[in-house]
């Protein structure tokens, strides 16, 4: 990653970014006002939330939805609104942090 104080001699020419996908190092989770919470009992692992998440923030392991990447989740609530079995609910960020 280019150092924020890097001089012109130290950075690639022409504004090129050569570390593909380094936005993974930029956290957008702090934007969130509310946070998704999944009820694993209800979840049917259809993965619709995965395909509709704008922020690549649904954590899927071995075909099962296991939670959220809260480093990136912006709390839009799309996953909760499209979940066919209403397994996801949005809770206020302060409340979620408290629990």
């Amino acid at each position: 990653m280019v150092n924020p104080n890097a001089g012109w001699k130290e950075i690639p020419w022409g504004g090129k970014i050569v570390e593909a996908g380094n936005a993974r190092e930029y956290e957008t989770g702090s934007w969130r006002a509310q946070q998704p919470v999944v009820d694993q009992e209800t979840c049917i692992n259809c993965l619709e939330c995965w395909v509709f998440c704008p922020d690549v923030s649904i954590d899927v392991k071995d075909g099962e939805m296991v939670g959220f990447h809260l480093r990136f989740c912006k709390g839009c609530g799309i996953c909760a609104s499209i979940c066919p079995v209403e397994a996801i609910t949005m809770v206020a960020e302060a409340e979620a942090e408290g629990s």
Binding site: V2, W8, W13, A20
Partner: protein
């Protein structure tokens, strides 16, 4: 073996492009560049080049496609004139900023309006701050030679900047002259293979080109472009030296004619230098110590070298084939005046704007300029810093 042929500037440029054999040429026809594109189209149609030719729907798309193709990882060339260059303006800057080493022939033509298809330098002079290296050629031979050298200059790893190679519309583009065409193999050897830097097509090493660059890094990237231009000064001369070694024709930042002992010097670009040379000879035969300097490289501007070459002159007259409305004079005059100031050249300077929209410039007019310079040398007074040559009152 090289051969001599009667060719106009556009045919010579198309021939250079054939020999360079670029990977992609996106181009759009415009007078007076058109015959370059036509001739090159025929080379493509006949399979004489490996080039993929994109017949774009505008010059804006031509330059955008040039940038995409160059960033993809290959050699790219194009050609345009006047309004075509103006239409691609936005992309001309982006080509330089992305450090894509595109070579573009610009057949100089007056910018509209009113619309005019004949020569002046308003098109390429308007692009002088875009970050491109700019070479001006006097005749078809120089158009051919500059086009070939431009590839090496642009692609040099210390430079990586696009190059514009200019010559005068119609006068040079359509004027038949004897041109020495080098052997295909010798040109191939001279330009060498293209070396890609962070090619888009290298899918195993993905690169992001053209990101959003705010105040925290934009200035660093601009500073890098300055550095590329600094290196270009060295590289232009290195490439010229190698060119001379192989092909025998000498090139530098500029070309002097009977300049060393001259007291009065005229500075003029491109084809008009040919006319000026004969005027210099005439006046020399009358005992006037006059000389000529024809710049070849306008960007990077060889300020120090020009200052040194003109340091001991009494008066330097600049002939500008374009104007900068509301400024102190034409662009060549302003740059040279600044160079004189910075490098402590005492010579008096005066500007003559001429030949706009293809207006004929006669030997008599050039002689009148020298007579003017002689008057200034005698009286020490400049009556008029900028004169419009040959314009009716």
């Amino acid at each position: 073996m090289s051969r001599f042929e009667a060719m106009d500037g556009n045919a010579a440029t198309a021939e250079a492009m054939r020999q360079i054999n670029p990977d992609v040429v996106p181009a759009y026809p415009i007078t007076p560049q058109t015959s370059t594109v036509q001739t090159f189209s025929q080379f493509v149609a006949d399979g004489e080049v490996d080039t993929e030719f994109i017949r774009v729907e505008s010059e804006h798309s031509a330059m955008a496609a040039c940038i995409g193709a160059s960033a993809a990882g290959g050699r790219v060339m194009t050609a345009t004139s006047a309004n075509g260059l103006a239409l691609m303006w936005e992309m001309v800057y982006i080509a330089a900023s992305n450090r894509t080493p595109i070579v573009m022939t610009v057949v100089n033509r007056a910018l509209s309006g009113p619309i005019n298809i004949h020569c002046d330098h308003s098109d390429s002079m308007g692009a002088r701050d875009a970050g491109w290296i700019q070479l001006f050629g006097e005749n078809p031979q120089e158009g051919y030679d500059n086009c070939i050298q431009a590839v090496r200059i642009a692609e040099h790893e210390d430079v990586l900047l696009p190059v514009m190679s200019m010559y005068d519309g119609f006068i040079t583009s359509h004027g038949l002259e004897r041109v020495q065409i080098e052997d295909d193999g010798a040109i191939k050897d001279f330009v060498g293979p293209f070396t890609a830097h962070e090619a888009l097509l290298d899918v195993d090493h993905p690169v992001t080109y053209g990101p959003l660059d705010f105040y925290d890094f934009y200035m660093e990237h601009k500073r890098q472009q300055v550095e590329g231009m600094k290196h270009a000064r060295r590289v232009i001369l290195e490439v010229a030296a190698d060119f001379e070694k192989r092909f025998g024709r000498h090139y530098g930042f500029f070309d002097g004619y009977r300049l060393d002992d001259a007291e009065l010097a005229l500075v003029v670009l491109s084809s008009t230098a040919g006319t000026a040379r004969s005027v210099v000879d005439d006046l020399r035969s009358q005992g006037l110590k006059v000389g000529l300097l024809k710049p070849r490289v306008f960007r990077p501007f060889p300020a120090e070298e020009l200052a040194d070459a003109l340091r001991d002159k009494a008066v330097v007259g600049v002939m500008d084939r374009s104007d900068s409305f509301g400024a102190l004079g034409g662009p060549l005059f302003m740059e040279l005046s600044a160079a004189f100031k910075i490098h402590d050249v005492p010579a008096k300077t005066v500007d003559y704007v001429f030949g706009l929209g293809g207006r004929d410039t006669t030997p008599d007019q050039i002689e009148s300029v020298f007579r003017d310079l002689a008057g200034i040398a005698e009286t020490g007074k400049i009556q008029q810093p900028v004169t419009y040559l040959g314009v009716r009152e």
